[in-house]
Structures are given as structure tokens and as C-alpha cells.
């Protein structure tokens, strides 16, 4: 049984599900037809993200332990045992900052084995160069001159998106709510904002397009065209085709501009996926039916994908709650705040409920062996 093995098998797909009350793994060795569950890990704790690092064959989890603060835990044996970072992510003494939550974990590039990135709240990037055993704060973000003006979104001042660039390991994009997109081309030595043409109409009319202050909800890079980046934002869905320098609004025919997760599969022509909600005033799906919406032309036109999803489905999917795999045809996965886990083996054309009784899902991640 895959669930009892300490290593991923060849051709295995691993689905990592973080919830408000612990974490679960779902593993498939037959082309995503059947899944074996494994867990429950971190009972009662909030898991904001999990990821699998294929370089070191390690699992990472961003754990919130309530009153006792956040931590990062690592498993080298596919969840059999977990070990906390010996030097956890911390702000230096005198900074007046303290890590409140840990969010997205992103393995670094192939040429930097051992490097892991971590997004935290209050917004900052932490870097590990020893496979997650110890963490160092990125000083340039921590001491960014605009930091005193940064405002938190409803989910806190969180760094939730980290996009490495396979073409150049010195380049990295990050997304912070509600600061916007930031970019470094010198391994984090300096950062600049990349929010041109991204709407922020919760500000007065005179500053609807500020240098920073945008409420980005999730950033995704196109697997096919590395210069193309998408973002689901509080104020719409946006696309950049020049690696973030300029953005265009691609909300187009979506039923609303508001949502949280965003994913892209890796077909020859990648399909991108969002999960629109009515708006920030209600945060429920349109007409009480949850639908993933997708686009095959990088957001010029969108269409709904809800075959297999109940007609009454007041689901909400959080920013880390929907991911696509790199298989052909692409698989898509989402977990809801009411504990349903859905997957599709055909790019969202039909959906199957993998589990309907999980705790509220905070994060979903998928990896191949």
C-alpha cells in the first residue's frame, strides 16, 4: 500500500492537504484513478501549506499551533516521522517583529540544493539553505523602506506566493496581501514593486493604481511561457506577459472579479483555473453553486467547469486551496472550507469528490514522484 511506504513510488502522484485541524496525504499509483489516504498528521493544528521537494524527497509543512505560535516541520520519510526546524523562522531581536503565521513553502532551484523559501506573516521571506533545518530572514524585505505603510488584507499581512524562475535562480517573484507583487533579480538583495496597471479601487479615485498596496490573492507562473504570470486579485484577474513589468486585466467574462485561488496546468497550451465568488461582501459562489472557471487562451475568455459538483454547493476555496498537476491530461484539485476534496483527471471537465468529511481545507498541493 502506497500509504505505508516511506518513499514515493515511480509514477506516483502525491496530494498534500492541509486543514484547520491537521494534514492528510492522498497517494495514487494508478494514474490518479484510486487514492490511498495517509495521516492524520499534526492533529488539531492549522496547516497553511505543505509541499514536497523532489530534490531531497522531503515533505515540508507550515504549521500553526494556536497559542503556541507557528513552526515548520519536515519529514524525510513521507510522513512517518516529522521534525521541527532546529532554528525556526524568526525575526531578529530588535526588529519588533515576530512571526505570527507561516504560509507558502517553495523548494528552490535545481542548482541550489537545500534551498527552500518560506513566506510568513507579518510579510517577509525566509530562506533555508539546509533543507529546512534553519531559516534566515530576507533583510531587504524586512527593512524595506515602505514597510511602515504596508496594510494587511483580511487574512493578515501575509506573504503567500513565491515564484522562482527556472531560467535564472537569482530571480524571484513574491505576492503579499495587501502590498502586491514584488520582484528581485539579485537573489533577494533588492526588491522592486511590480504592480503597474493592477487595480486597487478600495483606495480613493486618485490612487486607484498605486505603486504598492494592491491586494494580490495568488500569483501563478505559466508552465509553458515563463514570462507569463497570472494573478487573482481582490479587484480582478490579471496577466503579465513580460515577467511582471506590466499587467492587463483579464477578468473578461468571469461572473465576478473576486476569488482567491488560481492554478495553471502544463498542457502544451496551459489551462488556467480560478474559483470566482460573488464578491468580498459575501464570499460565497454565484447562485450557491461552486464552479471552477478556466481559460485556454490565457484569460481572454473563460468558461465554467462544474460537472460533478452539486448544484447546491456553497463552497469557498482559499488562496492555497486549488492546484494543478503536471500530468497529461492535466489534473486539478481543490479543497473547500467545508471539508470537501475534489479532483479532476481531465482538466476540470468533470470532478470527483475524493473526500467529503475533512476539516476545513486551508491548502492543497500536488507533486509527482
Amino acid at each position: 500500500m502506497a500509504g505505508k511506504t516511506g518513499r514515493m513510488a515511480k509514477d506516483e502522484i502525491l496530494l498534500m492537504v492541509g486543514t484547520k485541524k491537521g494534514a492528510f496525504l492522498f497517494r495514487s499509483r494508478d494514474g490518479r484513478r484510486t487514492w490511498k489516504s495517509q495521516g492524520h498528521f499534526f492533529r488539531g493544528k492549522e496547516i497553511y501549506h505543505m509541499t514536497y521537494d523532489r530534490r531531497s524527497r522531503s515533505l515540508f509543512a507550515s504549521v500553526g499551533s494556536g497559542q503556541w505560535g507557528p513552526l515548520v516541520s519536515v519529514s524525510r520519510d513521507m510522513g512517518k516521522t516529522w521534525k521541527e526546524s532546529e532554528a525556526p523562522p524568526k525575526f531578529p531581536k530588535g526588529s519588533r517583529l515576530s512571526v505570527e503565521r507561516v504560509w507558502h513553502i517553495e523548494p528552490g532551484p535545481e542548482e541550489q540544493p537545500g534551498r527552500i523559501y518560506l513566506g510568513a506573516e507579518p510579510a517577509c521571506l525566509f530562506v533555508s539553505d539546509d533543507d529546512g533545518n534553519s531559516w534566515n530572514v530576507n533583510e531587504s524585505i524586512m527593512r524595506h523602506p515602505t514597510r511602515p505603510k504596508w496594510q494587511p488584507g483580511n487574512g493578515g499581512l501575509c506573504l503567500h506566493s513565491i515564484l522562482p524562475d527556472a531560467r535564472d535562480h537569482r530571480r524571484l517573484h513574491i505576492g503579499i496581501s495587501a502590498v502586491g507583487t514584488m520582484f528581485t533579480s539579485d537573489s533577494g538583495g533588492s526588491w522592486k514593486f511590480q504592480n503597474r496597471n493592477v487595480l486597487a479601487d478600495f483606495f480613493p479615485d486618485s490612487v486607484k493604481y498605486p505603486e504598492f498596496g494592491q491586494c494580490v490573492h495568488k500569483l501563478v507562473r505559466s508552465p509553458a511561457r515563463a514570462d507569463t504570470i497570472f494573478q487573482q486579485n481582490h479587484c480582478g484577474v490579471f496577466r503579465s506577459r513580460d515577467n511582471g513589468s506590466r499587467w492587463a486585466n483579464i477578468t473578461s467574462n468571469l461572473p465576478s472579479r473576486f476569488g482567491f485561488p488560481m492554478a495553471a496546468d502544463s498542457g502544451g497550451k496551459p489551462r488556467i483555473y480560478v474559483a470566482p465568488l460573488e464578491g468580498d461582501f459575501s464570499r460565497i459562489p454565484h447562485d450557491g453553486r461552486f464552479s471552477v472557471w478556466a481559460s485556454d487562451d490565457e484569460g481572454d475568455e473563460w468558461f465554467p467547469l462544474n460537472r460533478g459538483i452539486p448544484k447546491v454547493s456553497y463552497y469557498d476555496v482559499l488562496r492555497e486551496g486549488m492546484k494543478a498537476d503536471r500530468e497529461d491530461p492535466g489534473g486539478v484539485y481543490f479543497g473547500t472550507t467545508t471539508g470537501q476534496l475534489y479532483h479532476s483527471r481531465n482538466r476540470g471537465e468533470s470532478w470527483t469528490c475524493l473526500n467529503s468529511g475533512l476539516p476545513p481545507v486551508l491548502s492543497v498541493e500536488v507533486s509527482a514522484s
Partner: protein
């Protein structure tokens, strides 16, 4: 020498003859303490020093009790002989005459 105690073994400090402090820890911290929630530990001069001593015994436990700046986490309460330390000198609270330190989370929920 430190003596780990189960919850029904509270009382007589043993060992080297130095003054001992009785420390009660939330069961939420059992992953760090090997399941124990009470220990007798050589007396420390202050709460801050005590937490450092606890971290030597139970690596990582201080990060659960203290935030990055060394203050007690907002939703963690430390009682010295029944007095919550925020009402006194906080982490610098003296333990010179203390008998018992209790570390608990604040109440959360219904």
C-alpha cells in the same frame, strides 16, 4: 540533575540537594517533553532564565512560549505561585522565593 515527574508524582524534590522549582507545563507541549507535564528543576533566578533552562531540557520549547523578541506569546500565561507574571515584572519576574511555575495557554473558545 533534573527529575521528570508524572502528574501524580508531585512533591519532594530530589537530587543534588539544591533548591528545586516545581514546573507545570500545558499538555499541549507534550511533544516537546516526552509526554510529561510536571518536572522539578533546579531553581532559576528569573522566569526568563527558567525558560532557557527548559529549552536545554526540551529543545524547541522556548519558541512555543516566547515570541521572536523574547516576550511571552500573547496567548500564553505564566503563573509564579499563582500570580500571572504580566501583573509583575514579566519575563524578569524573580523566582528567588518561588515554589511553582505554571505555563498554560489562555482560554480559547466557548
Amino acid at each position: 540533575m533534573v527529575h521528570l515527574k508524572s502528574s501524580d508524582a508531585r512533591g519532594s524534590p530530589a537530587g543534588s540537594g539544591g533548591r528545586k522549582l516545581h514546573v507545570v507545563l500545558s499538555m499541549h507541549l507534550k511533544d516537546y517533553t516526552g509526554g510529561r507535564n510536571e518536572i522539578d528543576i533546579p531553581a532559576a533566578e528569573s522566569v526568563g532564565v527558567l525558560i532557557g533552562d527548559l529549552d536545554i531540557l526540551f529543545p524547541g520549547i522556548s519558541s512555543r512560549i516566547l515570541d521572536d523578541q523574547g516576550g511571552v506569546r500573547r496567548h500564553v500565561n505564566i503563573f509564579v505561585d499563582g500570580e500571572e507574571i504580566r501583573r509583575g515584572a514579566g519575563i524578569r519576574t524573580s523566582l528567588s522565593d518561588a515554589l511553582e511555575v505554571v505555563i498554560l495557554p489562555s482560554v480559547a473558545g466557548g
